[in-house]
Symmetry: D2
Subunit: 213 residues, 4 copies
């Protein structure tokens, strides 16, 4: 059984070594995935110099290309974000904007470079507006080619009076973390053996014909 | 090769026999799916007496149970909605509220009744606020157990001066319709042969232990 | 000091006489507004036969016109909704769709019929996705001509294990209810004395000239 | 008649001197406001070193404090953002996160520092998902103390095949720009003469008593 790889993108606003609730939640999921034979790596985005932009390399010391290389070498991509003003953090939004650059590329099979990877999302919030952050992030990743298994999100709603490092996760979080870990890993194994055959270039050509009718 | 079944939930506000742009878009997708050996059925929700509520049967002549039976017998579920005030229609929201009732059930494998079905979404809008309607709807369906393949949405942004029945779809719509049809059908066939093994009841039990530690 | 009038639109899914958490929250605000000399009326929408549609009268026994008359006679409009699947209820969405019909009318001053009314929103949720429901609802009301004072929303996030009638509101809810009551009433009085002078028909004519340049 | 001041926060991802569609739209509004005696200033946020964070000064060369000073000295605040992946840009989200820091302060009247300012939003998008960006941004500004007049947003949906600097704005954009300019300026003048009296500290104290009952 080949080793799977998961890359977690930690989109906290806080640089290392400050504590972050997103990292705590990531660690909960790693504890579940590691025993399933999954190699896990965490990238705390704010520790790197990532430029604003919508291409895969904005030049001038932009460190996004090395992060993107890790994602391309992964089977599972999990974006972890706090909510701020009810939506995903500016760092998470920056990551999505940069990932949009991949949609302009096609690999030899006619697909975007992230096609067929499996995606999940982790959200921490102190007032619970996790739904919007999770929904829009998974949708964006599905647009880039990722597969979204059932129950592929795990939200951690901290009590309003807990500190930023949050304290203990509650039952719904533990439950959702298990659903996410099991389903993303099962789908990643399945898609290792059964590659999505869709050739986007061929469908684009057919669509051009159809739209001219 | 066994026949697959797709049920389209048309969430237009307009009763039959009025024209609806969602139905036009549904027909575009059916034209693509039918030659792949998929049996397609359309339910125009507003033609039925569906009660407001959050359970699977609200009694008193509620016609939701018969619609739900069709969904349970399908491999692919495609919800089609216009946008109103930038979000999915009230009829689409009503459908999602009723579908939430299925999360309280478990089948013999320990899963929700819609687990492992493949979901897609069609959105028509005259100002183009399709993103939110598509993202939240696919997310909700993934919560109920559905799998979201890559590019599983198709939006049709009509020009502001076109009538309600919309005129012709443009190139991006034809392209997205093809991506959606190919990916949902491929995943439905794959999942016919490889059923998701996740037992939610077992994971719930493990989560209870973990949350007490 | 003339009496102000507030109409609360209760967009719960539950018909009378079932308890609803939205009604409990409405009553909290009424207790604050009544002593300020405001006459308050509650309309539980689901108790009336309101048709799906986007005009102000859909005919065939549609009871929306009588609700709309109450709104037109009000100084303050407060929409109260539970969240379902992270967004406002289907009943709230239905109300917004019907209200959109008013944008096709102009009063003698060249304004939509709800221009210059003051709007607020109450949201109850059991997982806390109140932000999206509040933001989109206030935005839609501002499009119809309403003024949104600061802190014009009040959300009540019930604990996950509380029943549907919710128990007691917590400190942040009491605080937000006060901000909302004071600010909506103060603005309503101000706008009684200072009517917004904007003539939309005149600005439309200017815009047509500008867009042809 | 005292001069009013408007500060526009241009939240494009592109640094100067690159063209940006948000700036084009800002200029359209300035052309309308300037003849009304309003002094207008544009801050292109990405040209400054603004740190990620949720306080009003993150130290270490953070240039946010000088931008915040401009906002505090303004009567009208207009945030202009492109949409990316269907929502406001990462730069706009960063601005909102930094503005949240102001909610921890109270001025001598017991209000947040931005209380009683008038807010508007400009959105440019190439697929039209402007609703969510506008709604969430105006809502966030209303939470910080701003007043949202009717029709306080102006969206510019560029044709899919136009370049990034967009070409000409269409009729709906010209119309919305006029509504926004007239209503924000009228409200700013009104609120210069009639300051919102709400004392948040006093209401907080009352809420504490009520929640203990």
């Amino acid at each position: 059984m080949p080793t799977l790889k998961t890359t977690f993108l930690d989109c906290t606003l806080a640089r290392s070594p400050r504590a972050s609730s997103t990292r705590t939640l990531i660690d909960t999921v790693i504890e579940l995935m590691a025993p399933m034979g999954v190699q896990c790596e965490v990238v705390r985005v704010v520790d790197h110099r990532v430029a604003f932009g919508v291409t895969s390399d904005e030049g001038q010391g932009d460190q996004w290309p090395s992060i993107l290389r890790k994602l391309r070498a992964s089977d599972i991509i999990v974006l972890a974000t706090p909510t701020r003003a009810g939506v995903r953090s500016s760092v998470a939004q920056l990551v999505i904007e940069r990932l949009e650059g991949t949609c302009r590329e096609r690999d030899p099979a006619g697909q975007y470079p992230l096609y067929g990877k499996v995606a999940g999302v982790l959200v921490t919030g102190d007032q619970g507006d996790a739904h919007d952050a999770a929904a829009s992030t998974l949708f964006d990743l599905s647009h880039l080619g990722c597969v979204i298994p059932p129950n592929s999100d795990c939200c951690w709603i901290r009590a309003a009076d807990a500190g930023d490092d949050g304290g203990e996760a509650a039952l719904p979080t533990h439950r959702a973390a298990r659903y996410l870990a099991h389903n993303t890993v099962w789908f990643a194994r399945l898609l290792r053996e059964h590659r999505i055959p869709t050739d986007l270039r061929r469908l684009d050509a057919e669509a051009r014909v159809a739209s001219r009718r």
